[in-house]
Amino acid sequence: MSYIRKPAFQHPNLPKNEIGLTRRDYEGAMSTLCAGCGHDSVSAAIIEACYALGVEPHRLAKLSGIGCSSKTPTYFLSKSHGFNSVHGRMPSIATGASMANTGLKYIGVSGDGDSASIGLGQFAHAIRRQVNMLYIIENNGTYGLTKGQFSATNDRASVGRKGQKNQFDPIDICSLAIQLGASFVARGFSGDKAQLVPLIESGMAHEGFALIDVVSPCVTFNNHLGSTKSFDFVREHNNAVMATDFVPAREQIHAEYDKGEAVDVQLHDDCTIRLRKLDDDYDPTDRASALKYLADHHDRGEVVTGLLHVDTGIENLRDKAQLVDQPLNELVERDLVPSQALLDEVNQRRRW
C-alpha cells in the first residue's frame, strides 16, 4: 500500500492547542482510500478530537487489523505509534500492549469484517476483559478491501450492489458490546462530525473499554439504493437519542450549567460528559432498557446513534490484573529479577 507524505510546510499563524500543537501535527499521510469513503471522515474526527484534547502524540498508540478501515491509522496522527496488524487480531494485540505499557492511550481502529467476523471472538474478549482503550469500528456493512462481499453487520433488509439478497440477520455491534459489559458504547455516523468528535473525546477520556460503532459508508461497494449503510439511508433513518458534549477539566469552571435536560457523567481526570436526552425513553445507564430500545428501533429500520451506554464505576483490565502503577516496560532488572533469597525459598519447596 502506498504512502503519500503530505508537504511539511505549515502556516506560522495556525491556531495551537494547549500543548502548543496545531491541527496539522495530528494529521497523517495522504489518504489513498476511495474519494468520499466514510472512513476518511472518521480519521478527520479523530484528528479533531485529539487536537481538542491536547493529546501528546507520543503518548498514544493506534492499532488496527486489516481492511480499508484498518489502513486509516496511516492517515491520522503520524507522530504517534501505530501497529497495522493482521486480520481480526488487533484486540489481542491491544490487550497485550495495554498490559505492558499502561502509560499510553490506545485507539483501535477496525472494520465490521475485521471485528464482527474473523475477529469476533477476540473482540468479545477484549470487551469482557475491559481493556483500557477506545475501540472504533468503521462499519460499512461490507468487506471493502476485498471488493464488497456482505459482512456480518449488513442488515437483513439490505441488498447488494447487483441486487444480491442478504439472507442472514446482522450482528448489532452496540447491543453485543453492551451485553458483553463494555462500559462505554456509542454509535456515530461518519456523515455527522459534530456528533462524532465529542463521542471520540469522551471515549478517549473514559477509563475502560470504550466502543464507538461508526456507520461509515463504503462509497464504492455499499452506498447504493437498497443498502442500509448508505449515506442517504443513515441520514434519513438516524435516530439520535442522546446529544453528547465533552467538557474537559480545564473548562469546568466556565461551563454553563443548564439544569433540566442535561445529565453530567463525571469521568476521571475531572472531565465530564454532558448528555442531553433527545428521547425521554432512553436511559444510557441502564443496560437492559438500552438493549430493548436498540432492538425495537432497529426493527423499525432506525439507526440509533449517540452515547448508548456508559458506566464509570467499572474496574478495567489494569485494575483487575493488579498491575503496578509504573508501566511494565519501564521496570528495571532490580524490580523484575527475584532476589536470591526469594529464589531459594521457591526452590526450597521442591527439595525432598
Binding site: L33, C34, I118, T146, K147, Q149
Partner: protein, 656 residues
C-alpha cells in the same frame, strides 16, 4: 469472462501484403516498418494502461479475447494498482493489462512490451520505471493533456513526451477523447473501446470479430450501450486506418479444437464443478476470492453451495463437515487464510477425511504483497501441520492445469481419504488465455461412496497393513456408526493412547502417501535427457522456464528442464533424471540466500523451497536461483541467471 467460440479463424486478413517471415527476430517491428505495409511477426507484447476505473482492463481483456478469436495464442496479465481507487494520474494508479499474442500457443507473459497504449503519461511512466517496456517500444498516448487547462499537467505531459522521444521510444499521440466526443457525451467512459478499435486496426484484426466481442461484453446492458460502444470501436479502427502508419500481422497458431478463454481462478472453479464437488467454503481473500465467486455464479445455474464463512478456520471446518457427511468439499484461500486452516487440516488428516484445499499463493509473509505472485508456501503446504500430518501437495503449472489439477485432487482425496493441497498463485489466478474447451469425461468423477450396510463388526479404520488404506464409513451408513476423533485412536475409532496403537495410526496414514506415490508417473524432461544443467521448477513458472530452455538450447547450451506437479509425494524416477546432469538448479519465485552476500556460505544458506525438498530427498547438491519481486518470472531473466551460473567454473563455488 468465460468466452466460448466455436471456430478460430485460420486465415489472415485480406490486405496483408508480404508473406510470413519464418522467424521475426526481436526488434524487427521498428526496423522493417514501411508505409502501407503490415509487418509480419511471430509475436508481440501489448500493454494498455490507464488510471484505475478508466477501462484499460476491459480494453486489454477484450483485446486478448479478440486475438484469441483470431486464432492467436495469447496470455493476458492484469496490471493491478495497489489501492482500490488510487488518485487519478498517479504512478501508483497504473491499471490495465498486458497481452502477449503469438502465432503459437503462449505459456507466460513474456519479457518486455513491444507496444503500449497509455491514457496518460503518469501510468506510462510507471511501466517505464518498472522496466517493463522494450527499448524503442511503440507508445500510443492520449494527447489531451498537451492542452490541459492546468498548466502543471500540460507541462508534465510535454516534459514526459520529450523524454520518451529522447529515450528512443516510438511515440504516437492519439486524440482519444477529442475523437470520442464526436460520438458520445462522456468520452472518459468510452475511450477504452476507441483504444480497442485502434489496436484492432494495428494488429489487422477482423472488425466483425471485434464487434462481436464488444457486443458480448456488454450483453447485459441495453442495446443503446452496445451500439455506442461498437460505434467507438469502429471510430478507433477508422482513426487508426487514416492516421496511424503502424500495422502488424501475427499469423494465427494452428489450433483446431474449440477454445475457451479463462483465467486460472475460473479454471479452478470449472475444475471444482467438473470434479463433481458441489460444496465450496471460503472467506474472502485476495487473490483467491474470484474462484469462489465464479462458483457461486455458476452454481446458481447448475446447483451447488458456496458458503462464505466468518473466517478461514470456519471455512475449512465447514468443508471438513461436508466431507465427513459424505460430500467431498473444497476450500479456496490464499496464504494468511491457509495458515489459519492448518489446525483443522490436521484434524482432517488425523480423522482421514477427504478434503481439497486450494491455496492461491500471494507474496508473504503476513499481509506481504496481497495482490502479487510468489511461490512461498511450498514447504508450508508440505510440512505446515503440527505433529506428523502427511498430505498430498500438488501444484498447477498453467491455466489449463488449474482445471485438471482440481479434478485429480478430488479423486486422490476420496480414493486415499486424505487432504490434497493444490497450489496455484496470483499470476495464474488473473492471467487469462485460450485453452481447449474441456470435454466432460466420466473418468473425472471420484468413485461414488459405497453407502451400503457394512458388517456389524466392521471397523472404521481397518488399515491395510501394506497400503494404509481403509474403507471410510459415512454418517447414515448402516452399521457404520463410529465416533470420529482428532485424538489418537485405534481401528474402532476409539480414543487410544497405547504406544503400539499410536505407532500404527501414524504408520498407516503415512503409508497411504507412499501408496499414492506408487501410482504417479515419472515426469518427462523438457529437452534432452542429459546435459550440462537441469532446471527444476514447479507451479506457474513452467512456461517461462521452458521458453528459457528453448532459448538456451538455441545458443548451444545443453540445458533441459523438469517440472514437478506432485511435490509431496514425488513420483519415482526423479533421482535418476537428476543424476544425468552435471548440475541441477531450481528456478523459483520465492526466497533463497545468495552467495553474493558475504555472510552466506554453504552452512547457513537458506535455499529455495523446492531445492530444500530435492536436496533432502535425493542427497544431490541441488543449487537454486530465485527472485521475489512480486512478478511472474520472465524467460529472459531465467536465461540470464542460467548463463551466469553456467559461466561460473565449478571450482570457484564458495564453500563446497
Amino acid at each position: 469472462m468465460n468466452t466460448q467460440f466455436p471456430e478460430t479463424l485460420q486465415q489472415g486478413p485480406a490486405d496483408v501484403t508480404s508473406p510470413p517471415l519464418p522467424a521475426a527476430p526481436e526488434g524487427i517491428a521498428r526496423a522493417s516498418r514501411q508505409p502501407g505495409k503490415s509487418v509480419f511477426l511471430n509475436e508481440h507484447i501489448v500493454e494498455i494502461v490507464s488510471d484505475s476505473g478508466e477501462g484499460a482492463q476491459r480494453c486489454g481483456q477484450s483485446f486478448g479475447s479478440i486475438a484469441a478469436r483470431m486464432g492467436n495464442g495469447t496470455w493476458t496479465v492484469e496490471i493491478i494498482p495497489a489501492e482500490i481507487q488510487p488518485p487519478a494520474r498517479s504512478i501508483a494508479g497504473a491499471s490495465g493489462n498486458r497481452v502477449r499474442l503469438a502465432s503459437r500457443p503462449v505459456t507466460n507473459g513474456g519479457d518486455e512490451a513491444d507496444l503500449v497504449v497509455a491514457f496518460n503519461e503518469q501510468v506510462l511512466l510507471k511501466r517505464v520505471q518498472e522496466g517493463e517496456l522494450k527499448p524503442g517500444c511503440v507508445v500510443l498516448i492520449e494527447n489531451k493533456w498537451r492542452t490541459d487547462r492546468n498548466d502543471e499537467i500540460a507541462a508534465t505531459y510535454l516534459r514526459t513526451f520529450d523524454r520518451l522521444i529522447a529515450d528512443g521510444y516510438d511515440v504516437h499521440e492519439i486524440p482519444m477523447e477529442v475523437e470520442c466526443l464526436r460520438y458520445v457525451d462522456n468520452p472518459g467512459r468510452g475511450k477504452n473501446m476507441f483504444a480497442l478499435g485502434v489496436l484492432c486496426h494495428v494488429y489487422c484484426f477482423d472488425l466483425q470479430v471485434a464487434r462481436k466481442q464488444v457486443a458480448f461484453i456488454f450483453a447485459k446492458k441495453d442495446s443503446a450501450v452496445v451500439d455506442s460502444n461498437i460505434r467507438l470501436l469502429e471510430a478507433g479502427y477508422e482513426w487508426a486506418e487514416t492516421n496511424l502508419d503502424i500495422r502488424f500481422y501475427i499469423p494465427p497458431s494452428d489450433v483446431s479444437k474449440p477454445q475457451i478463454v479463462i483465467n486460472g481462478n475460473i479454471a479452478v472453479g470449472l475444475g471444482v464443478m467438473a470434479s463433481g464437488m458441489e460444496v465450496c467454503a471460503m472467506y474472502p481473500i485476495t487473490p483467491a476470492t474470484s474462484a469462489s465467486h465464479y462458483l457461486s455464479d455458476v452454481f446458481a445455474n447448475v446447483g451447488g453451495v458456496v458458503h462464505q464463512a466468518e473466517d478461514e478456520i470456519a471455512a475449512c471446518a465447514f468443508a471438513i463437515g461436508s466431507s465427513y457427511a459424505g460430500k467431498c468439499a473444497v476450500t479456496i484461500t490464499s496464504g494468511p487464510g491457509f495458515a489459519l486452516k492448518q489446525e483443522t487440516i490436521a484434524l482432517a488428516v488425523m480423522a482421514e477425511i477427504p478434503l481439497v484445499v486450494v491455496n492461491v499463493q500471494r507474496g508473504g509473509p503476513s499481509t506481504g504483497l496481497p495482490t502479487k505472485v510468489e511461490q512461498g508456501d511450498l514447504l508450508f503446504a508440505c510440512f505446515g501441520g503440527h505433529g506428523d500430518t502427511p498430505k498430498v501437495v500438488m501444484a498447477a503449472s498453467g491455466i489449463e492445469d488449474c482445471f485438471y489439477s482440481i479434478i485429480t485432487a478430488r479423486k486422490i482425496a476420496e480414493t486415499f481419504n486424505t487432504v490434497v493441497v493444490v497450489l496455484t498463485d496470483a499470476s495464474l489466478a488473473s492471467a487469462q488465455q485460450p485453452i481447449p474447451k474441456p470435454e466432460i469425461d466420466t473418468d473425472w468423477f471420484a468413485p461414488p461412496i459405497d453407502q451400503n450396510a457394512v458388517p456389524i463388526d466392521a471397523k472404521p479404520y481397518d488399515w491395510d497393513a501394506t497400503t494404509g488404506l481403509a474403507q471410510r464409513f459415512i454418517p447414515g451408513q448402516p452399521n457404520g456408526m463410529h465416533c470420529l476423533t482428532g485424538l489418537a485412536h485405534d481401528r474402532l475409532s476409539h480414543v487410544a493412547y497405547e504406544p503400539e496403537t499410536n505407532q500404527e495410526g501414524l504408520r498407516s496414514r503415512s503409508l497411504k502417501i507412499a501408496t499414492l506415490q506408487k501410482t504417479l508417473k515419472t515426469p518427462t524432461v523438457f529437452g534432452e535427457s542429459d546435459g550440462e544443467m537441469l532446471i527444476v521448477g514447479w507451479g506457474s513458472t513452467k512456461g517461462a522456464i521452458e521458453e528459457a530452455v528453448e532459448c538456451l538450447r538455441a545458443e548451444g547450451r545443453r540445458v533441459s528442464s523438469l517440472h514437478l506437479k506432485f511435490l509431496h509425494p514425488m513420483a519415482a524416477g526423479i533421482r535418476e533424471i537428476l543424476q544425468c546432469f552435471d548440475q541441477v538448479m531450481t528456478i523459483e519465485n520465492n526466497w533463497s540466500d545468495s552467495y553474493e552476500n558475504d555472510v552466506i556460505d554453504a552452512d547457513n544458506r537458506r535455499y529455495s523451497e523446492l531445492a530444500w525438498l530435492l536436496r533432502a530427498r535425493f542427497l544431490i547438491d541441488v543449487d537454486c536461483w530465485s527472485e521475489v519481486k512480486g512478478q511472474p518470472l520472465k524467460p529472459n531473466t531465467i536465461v540470464t541467471a542460467v548463463r551466469k551460473k553456467l559461466g561460473r567454473k565449478k571450482t570457484q563455488r564458495k564453500g563446497i
